[in-house]
Symmetry: C2
Subunit: 135 residues, 2 copies
Amino acid sequence: MNRDSAGLHVLSRQECIDLLASTPIGRIVFTDRALPAVQPVGFCIDGEDIVIHTGVGTKLAAATRDAVVAFEADDFDPQAHTGWSVTAVGRARAVCDPSEIARLSALPLTTWAPGDRGHFITVRTEQVSGRRIRH
Amino acid sequence: MNRDSAGLHVLSRQECIDLLASTPIGRIVFTDRALPAVQPVGFCIDGEDIVIHTGVGTKLAAATRDAVVAFEADDFDPQAHTGWSVTAVGRARAVCDPSEIARLSALPLTTWAPGDRGHFITVRTEQVSGRRIRH
């Protein structure tokens, strides 16, 4: 297994996608009025795309429309000092096709917040990187 | 307690700072070669500033130098569907003063990655927002 300059184990693309698929909550990173912004979201993996469910009129829906965003998920045990993190960077897309919306509606998506969930966003995992920490 | 448009409980500034102080790992959000970037880090709270320990020559050290960054921490229980998230936005600063470095070195900082930890970054919590989810 490869290590990076900080001594962390470098994960393969497939390991990154598998870890993303193993966790229901991640964080989407975007730009909001020229400032860095980050928001936790429920998500799931569809093929190699990240799928997020949000409200139609939300800041997230507006700010991520055709923007390049980052997406991060991690799991860390401070006691054992073990964990992993995966970051993807890619273009976000609002899903508008009714048949695709119907298909995505059947996915096992965790929702972070209550309220309206009428809008799907997908993020292409164009660049993926991940690290694992072993004690 | 206030609720936002999604029905989440809005946390006060003090509640946000107290929650940040309760958790050892967060994520710093910055721009890396014009793309959104996010990295998990160990951190602690010093007054109302976020303190991060990283290596001298890291991408994080370079990319956050005098930049406005976002910082996020959260905790979520998918079973109980309860949790919170806090986001801060503010200017990052490399700590160069030897007496300040000595003082920060005594803080109980968790490190995310092994390796060189010679560089401190502080982030002013200029804007703070937080939400709590109750089932």
